[in-house]
C-alpha cells in the first residue's frame, strides 16, 4: 500500500521535561508585559502534561506576542503576518504525532489573519491557539487594533478610535471553534487551567488572554484585575451534579448562552464560553484517506500510477 515511510527514532528514555529544558532566549518583551505570564503559564502546562519534548511545535505570525516561539526551546516557526493558522494546519494535518500550538496577538489573529481564523475554526483543525489580546498594535508602536475600544487614542486615531471593535468570543463561537475560553494574564492559575483544558480538547481550541501592553495601553485590563480594584468574575459552569440550581449555570455546549455571555458589559466574565465535540479535520481527512486506499485496493504507488496511465490509453 502506498504510504509515507517514517524512519522513527530509536527507543529513548526521555528525561523528565522541566521548565528549565523548555526555556530558550530571554524574552525581548518590555518589562511588565503581560506576555511573560503567558509564557510561564505555558511552561507550567507543558511540564504538567509531560508532552514529549521533540513533539512540541510552536508556530506564530508577526507581532510582539508572535515572538513566542523564540522563547520556547522546542521546534518553532516564526512565519509571516496573519498566516500562522494555515501554516499550522499543514503541520497538524500531516503530522498527527505532534502537539501543535499557535501564538499570536489581536492584529495577527483578528485583522490580517481574520479569514484564516474563520476557516481554521470551521474546519476544526486539531491545534491550540493562544491569542494574547492587548487591544493595540505594540510592535509597530501604538496603532488602533481590531479590538481597540471606541475612543482609544492611538497614532492612527489621535482623537480616539471610531470603529466598532471585534467581540472575540462571539467571532470564535460563530466561526465554529469547538473550544473557546477567555482568561487574564494576571490570573496565572486560571490561565494555566484554561491552557490545560484547551490542549486536552480534541479539535480547534482557542484561549483569548487579556495581556496588557504596559507601554502603549497601560491599565487596559485593570477593571478585570482584583489587584487593581477590578473584578475577575468567573463563569459558573454547569456541573451536572443534580443540585437544584445547576440549570441556572452556564451550559458550555449552548451556543446561544455563549453569545449572551459574550454580550455582557466590560470587563465581562472569564472561563470556558463554549465547548463541544465535532469531528476534526484531521479525522475527516484520515477517513478519506482510508476510504480512498481501500477502494483503490491498497495498491502500491507503482501499481496506482500504472493503472492511472492505463486509463490514458
Amino acid at each position: 500500500m502506498a504510504t509515507i515511510e517514517i524512519k522513527e527514532a530509536p527507543p529513548f528514555e526521555a528525561p523528565e521535561l522541566t521548565k528549565k529544558a523548555l526555556k530558550a532566549d530571554h524574552p525581548t518583551w518590555c518589562p511588565g508585559c503581560g506576555d511573560f505570564a503567558v509564557l510561564a503559564s505555558f511552561f507550567k502546562t507543558v511540564e504538567k502534561l509531560q508532552i514529549p519534548h521533540e513533539k512540541i511545535a510552536t508556530i506564530a505570525g508577526i507581532g510582539c506576542s508572535s515572538r513566542f516561539p523564540y522563547f520556547v526551546n522546542g521546534h518553532g516557526v516564526h512565519f509571516i503576518h496573519g498566516r500562522a493558522l494555515p501554516f499550522a494546519t499543514g503541520v497538524s494535518l500531516s503530522r498527527p504525532d505532534l502537539n501543535v500550538f499557535v501564538f499570536g496577538g489581536d492584529g495577527d489573529g483578528f485583522s490580517i489573519g481574520g479569514n484564516h481564523l474563520e476557516h481554521c475554526a470551521r474546519k476544526n483543525v486539531n491545534l491550540t491557539y493562544v491569542i494574547m489580546d492587548n487591544f493595540v498594535y505594540g510592535l509597530t508602536k501604538k496603532q488602533t487594533s481590531p479590538t481597540s475600544p471606541i475612543g482609544f487614542k492611538s497614532k492612527t486615531d489621535p482623537t480616539g478610535a471610531v470603529d466598532q471593535p471585534i467581540n472575540p468570543m462571539k467571532k470564535l463561537v460563530s466561526s465554529g471553534a469547538t473550544f473557546v475560553a477567555r482568561t487574564h494574564a494576571a490570573q496565572v492559575k486560571h490561565m494555566t487551567a484554561m491552557f490545560e483544558r484547551a490542549i486536552n480538547h480534541p479539535g480547534f481550541s482557542v484561549v483569548e488572554v487579556l495581556s496588557e501592553c504596559v507601554v502603549f495601553y497601560k491599565g487596559s485590563f485593570d477593571e478585570a484585575n482584583p489587584r487593581k480594584d477590578g473584578k475577575f468574575e468567573l463563569i459558573d459552569e454547569k456541573q451536572d451534579d443534580d443540585s437544584e440550581d445547576d440549570w441556572k449555570r452556564h451550559d458550555v455546549s449552548d451556543q446561544n448562552k455563549a453569545f449572551k455571555l459574550a454580550d455582557e458589559p466590560w470587563p465581562g466574565k472569564f472561563g470556558v464560553f463554549y465547548e463541544v465535540e465535532r469531528p476534526t479535520k484531521n479525522t475527516l481527512e484520515k477517513n478519506l484517506m482510508a476510504a480512498a486506499q481501500k477502494s483503490s485496493g491498497n495498491k502500491s504507488s507503482i501499481e496506482l500510477l500504472t493503472k492511472r496511465f492505463e486509463k490514458m490509453r
Binding site: 500500500m1 502506498a2 504510504t3 509515507i4 515511510e5 517514517i6 524512519k7 522513527e8 527514532a9 529513548f12 529544558a21 530558550a24 519534548h53 521533540e54 513533539k55 511545535a57 508556530i59 516561539p69 523564540y70 526551546n73 522546542g74 521546534h75 518553532g76 516557526v77 516564526h78 512565519f79 509571516i80 496573519g82 498566516r83 494555515p86 501554516f87 494546519t89 499543514g90 503541520v91 494535518l93 500531516s94 503530522r95 504525532d97 505532534l98 479569514n115 484564516h116 474563520e118 476557516h119 481527512e285 484517506m289 476510504a291 480512498a292 486506499q293 483503490s296 504507488s301 507503482i302 496506482l304 500510477l305 500504472t306 492511472r308 496511465f309 492505463e310 486509463k311 490514458m312 490509453r313
Partner: protein, 609 residues
C-alpha cells in the same frame, strides 16, 4: 485490468457511409470542430486524441474555451499525423461547423482546398466560395432521428465523430471502446444514445456529398506504450510519481484541474490535498507541510501567484522544499483567463520582495509536464528551495500522445526521517547543504531550531549582523549557482551554427521546431534552443549564441518598452548581446509557424518559398 464495466460489443454489423468512395492516403490532418461549449466538442476531440495515441499516430489538440460559466463559442482542433506532431497546425484541412456563427468565425481557418462539413440544419454556407469543398449533413435532425425520444440534439457530437471515423477510415472498434470507457460510469441510456448517434454518423451515406475518403497512414510502431492526455493531468501524475503527497490550493482557471486531480488521488497514496480558504492560506499550508518534512505543492495562475508572493519569500528565507505551479494565462489582472500567455516569467523569477533567488522551470510540451515535475522535485529536495514550474493554458488543456514513462525507474516513494540529529546540527551551514530538521526530530544537543523569516545565523538564530546578512544572501544565491553547474548545456536543434537561432521556453517548443524544419527545407541555416531551466539557466548558452548571426527569442508576451520580451530581456542582461531580438505576440493564441517565420522576416527578409 480496467475498472470500468465494459458492456458487450454490439453484434449488429454497420455499413460505413464511405462505402464506394475512393480513398486517398494522408499522413497529416488537422480537423477543427467549431460549435458551442455545451455541444461536447471537447469530448469528441479528446476521444480522437486517445484513438491517435492508441493507433501509432501522433496527435496534438488545441482548444479555446469561452470565459463564461456555460455556453459560448468554442473550438477543438485535433491534428493527427503518422509522423511527429509539434504544433496543433496553422490551418485546418477539415472544418466541422455546427452553427452559422461557427461557420462565419472559422471558415477562414480552413486551408485552400480544405473541406467544410456543416450542419445543414443550421448553417447556410457560401457555396460559391471556390476555395473550399462544402459538405452539408443534417447533423441535428439526423441525430434526433437516430436517438429518438426526448434526447433532442444531444449527441450530435457523437454523430459528427461517427462521420469523421468513416471519412478518415479510423478504427471504429477502437473508437467504440474509448466511447464505452468514457460513458462507462454513467446511466446505460447515456452510453446507448452515444453509440446510436455514433453509428448513425458512421453509416451516413457520403457518396452523394463527398468524392474522397481518406486513409490515415499508420506511423510509429510502439502502440502498446503510448498514452494520450493533457498537460495538467501529466503534471499531476508527475508530481505523484515524484513523491509529492501533500499540497494545498485555491480554485482558479486554468490551474484548478491539477488541484482537483491531486485532491482525488493523493489520499490513495497516503497523503492529501487541501482546498484552502484563499491563496495565502494555500501557500501557507503547503509551507506547513514542507516544514513538517513532506515535499509539498501549491499552485495557481498569475493573480493567485501574486497573492502567494510574501509567503514564498519566507520559503526562500527558511529554505524549505516546495513546488509552486503557475499555469499561466493572459494577464494582467483577470485578463484573458482562458487564453494562453507567457507573461509571468519575471514574476516567477523576481516577483517577490527582497533578494529572493528561486528556481524556475518550464515544461516544453505535454509529455514534459510529467518529467518537469520530477525535475522540480529533485531540485527542491537537493537544494531545499521553492521551485517554480511555469506551465500555461495551452499546455494545460491540450492533449498529446507520448510514450508511457518508465514508471519503475522514476517513481519516488517519500520517506519522513525522524531520527535524531547530533550535536553538530546546523540547519544553514555557510559551507554546505541546508539540513532541515522537521518537528518530531529529537535534537540531542538540546537546543531546538526556530525556522524563521528573520535573517539568521547558521543555527537559524535571528541576527541583524551586517556581515551575516551579506553571507546568508550569498549562500541562498550560491545554491542556485551550484545548481547551474550541474545542468547540461541545451541541445541545439537544426543547424549548429549559422544564420538564425531561435530561442524559446515553455509551450512554444513545438511551433519553434516546426518553423526550423520549414526554414531548413528552404536551405536556411536555422537552429533552435529551448530552455527548460529558466533560473538558473543552463550553462553554455553564450557559446551557442556566438555561433549564430541572429538570435530571436520567441515568446508569448509583450515586447515591453524597449522592444524585448521577458526572456529576451533576461538574456540581454545576462549576455550583453545586441544580436538578441524578440518575436513576441499577445493575442492569447499559440504561435503559428507562419508568425514565427514572418517575425524573422521582418528583420531579415528571409523569403519562404
Amino acid at each position: 485490468m480496467s475498472d470500468v464495466a465494459t458492456p458487450p460489443a454490439p453484434t449488429k454489423q454497420i455499413v460505413a457511409g464511405n462505402t464506394g468512395l475512393k480513398t486517398e492516403q494522408v499522413e497529416d490532418a488537422v480537423i477543427r470542430f467549431a460549435g458551442d461549449s455545451q455541444d461536447g466538442i471537447q469530448s469528441i476531440g479528446g476521444m480522437l486524441a486517445k484513438l491517435a495515441g492508441r493507433s501509432d499516430r501522433d496527435v496534438m489538440t488545441y482548444m479555446t474555451i469561452p470565459a463564461t460559466i456555460s455556453g459560448g463559442a468554442s473550438i477543438f482542433q485535433v491534428r493527427l499525423a503518422s509522423g511527429d506532431v509539434l504544433s496543433s497546425g496553422d490551418r485546418a484541412d477539415f472544418l466541422v461547423t455546427f452553427y452559422q456563427h461557427s461557420y462565419d468565425d472559422h471558415i477562414d481557418s480552413l486551408r485552400e482546398g480544405g473541406i467544410c462539413l456543416y450542419d445543414s440544419d443550421h448553417v447556410e454556407p457560401d457555396e460559391s466560395d471556390p476555395r473550399f469543398t462544402f459538405v452539408g449533413v443534417p447533423l441535428t435532425s439526423a441525430t434526433v432521428e437516430a436517438i429518438g425520444g426526448s434526447a433532442k440534439d444531444r449527441g450530435k457530437n457523437m454523430f459528427a465523430l461517427g462521420l469523421i471515423c468513416s471519412i478518415f477510415n479510423l478504427n471504429r472498434a477502437k473508437l467504440l471502446e474509448i466511447i464505452r470507457r468514457q460513458f462507462g460510469g454513467k446511466h446505460e441510456s447515456v452510453l446507448r444514445n452515444a453509440e446510436l448517434a455514433f453509428d448513425a454518423g458512421f453509416a451516413y451515406p457520403l457518396g452523394d456529398v463527398l468524392k474522397l475518403a481518406y486513409d490515415m497512414k499508420v506511423g510509429h510502431s510502439k502502440e502498446e506504450h503510448r498514452v494520450a492526455t493533457d498537460g495538467n493531468t501529466a503534471l499531476t501524475q508527475g508530481l505523484i510519481a515524484a513523491g509529492v503527497r501533500y499540497g494545498a490550493g485555491y480554485p482558479i482557471t486554468p490551474w484548478s484541474s491539477i488541484m482537483e486531480g491531486l485532491r482525488v488521488e493523493l489520499p490513495r497514496y497516503g497523503g492529501t490535498f487541501i482546498q484552502a480558504e484563499d491563496e495565502l492560506g494555500a501557500v501557507s499550508m503547503a509551507l506547513g507541510f514542507a516544514y513538517s518534512g513532506h515535499l509539498s505543492v501549491t499552485g495557481s495562475s498569475g493573480p493567485g501567484l501574486s497573492l502567494k508572493m510574501e509567503a514564498l519569500s519566507w520559503g526562500t528565507m527558511a529554505e524549505l522544499p516546495l513546488i509552486v505551479i503557475n499555469v499561466q494565462r493572459g494577464g494582467p489582472s483577470t485578463g484573458l483567463p482562458t487564453s494562453v500567455e507567457q507573461s509571468d516569467l519575471m514574476q516567477a523569477i523576481y516577483g517577490s520582495h527582497g533578494d529572493t533567488p528561486r528556481v524556475v522551470l518550464a515544461p516544453q510540451d505535454v509529455e514534459d509536464c510529467f518529467y518537469i515535475a520530477l525535475e522540480a522535485a529533485r531540485i527542491a529536495r537537493k537544494y531545499s528551495v521553492p521551485v517554480f514550474v511555469l506551465s500555461d493554458q495551452a499546455l494545460a488543456t491540450r492533449i498529446e500522445a507520448f510514450e508511457l514513462p518508465d514508471l519503475e525507474s522514476l517513481v519516488v516513494d517519500p520517506v519522513l526521517d525522524l531520527t535524531p540529529v547530533d550535536d553538530e546540527f546546523k540547519p544553514y551551514p555557510l559551507d554546505g547543504f541546508t539540513k532541515h530538521a522537521p518537528p518530531g526530530k529529537r535534537i540531542d544537543a538540546g537546543k531546538y531550531p526556530v525556522v524563521t523569516g528573520l535573517e539568521h545565523d547558521e543555527w537559524g538564530h535571528p541576527t541583524a549582523k551586517p556581515e551575516l546578512h551579506v553571507q546568508m544572501t550569498a549562500r541562498r544565491r550560491d545554491k542556485l549557482k551550484d545548481l547551474e553547474k550541474e545542468l547540461s548545456p541545451p541541445e541545439v536543434y537544426g543547424v549548429n551554427d549559422g544564420e538564425v537561432l531561435l530561442v524559446g521556453w515553455g509551450s512554444t517548443y513545438g511551433p519553434i521546431r516546426e518553423a526550423v524544419d520549414r526554414l531548413r527545407k528552404d536551405d536556411h541555416k536555422v537552429g533552435a534552443v529551448h530552455l527548460r531551466h529558466l533560473h538558473p539557466m543552463a550553462p553554455g548558452l553564450g557559446d551557442i549564441f556566438d555561433r549564430f548571426n541572429h538570435i530571436f527569442v520567441v515568446e508569448m508576451n509583450d515586447e515591453g518598452l524597449y522592444g524585448q520580451g521577458q526572456l529576451a530581456t533576461l538574456l540581454r542582461s545576462r549576455f550583453c548581446n545586441p544580436k538578441i531580438q524578440s518575436i513576441c505576440k499577445t493575442d492569447g493564441l499559440t504561435f503559428r509557424i507562419r508568425e514565427i517565420i514572418d517575425g524573422i522576416d521582418e528583420y531579415l527578409a528571409i523569403e519562404e518559398v
